[in-house]
Symmetry: C2
Subunit: 69 residues, 2 copies
DNA sequence: ATGAATTGTGCTTTATATTGCACATTTACT
DNA sequence: AGTAAATGTGCAATATAAAGCACAATTCAT
């Protein structure tokens, strides 16, 4: 998954949980602006930021050896 | 996986491929210092940095709904 | 259709990552 | 053990992300 796809996964999950960006940004303690950029794949957020959002949404991040496609 | 575990995965993979940190940093176009911090889980690198390293090592990053543990 | 909430953008300031350097420590080879 | 390569750390300069603001655009309910 690339940055943009990660953003989409976050957005999708957030919507599934029926949380607004503003709510999530407050829960996570992250600027609304940064969250918007993260979801749209525009910014270049830090791992810490990403982790906060991901864990708040009940998601997890995994690094593994790439499968052959 | 948290930041530190991701770093370990990177380090493990790099060693498996018998590449030095310096070599990898040059391949990826990333400062040696940053790579060291990334592997040891000390820094707080950006997604772009992380992605570069990960893809150079034939790894991939995935975000998915967290399993029940 | 319209009004309100939500999402998104340009700009600026502030906070923080990135980098290189010089040196310390650890690892690996003979 | 001795030496060279590899890995790691403190510090300073530079590059870039984070945040808030004001406003625009879109989405959503009534």
């Amino acid at each position: 998954m690339n940055k943009s796809e990660i953003g989409k996964a976050i957005k999708q999950r957030r919507k599934f949980l029926r949380i607004t960006q503003k709510e999530l940004s407050e829960i996570v303690g992250l600027g609304l602006r940064s969250l918007i950029d993260m979801e749209s794949g525009k910014g270049n957020s830090s791992i810490d930021q990403l982790q906060k959002v991901i864990s708040a949404l009940g998601l997890s991040i995994t690094v593994k050896v790439k499968e052959n496609e």
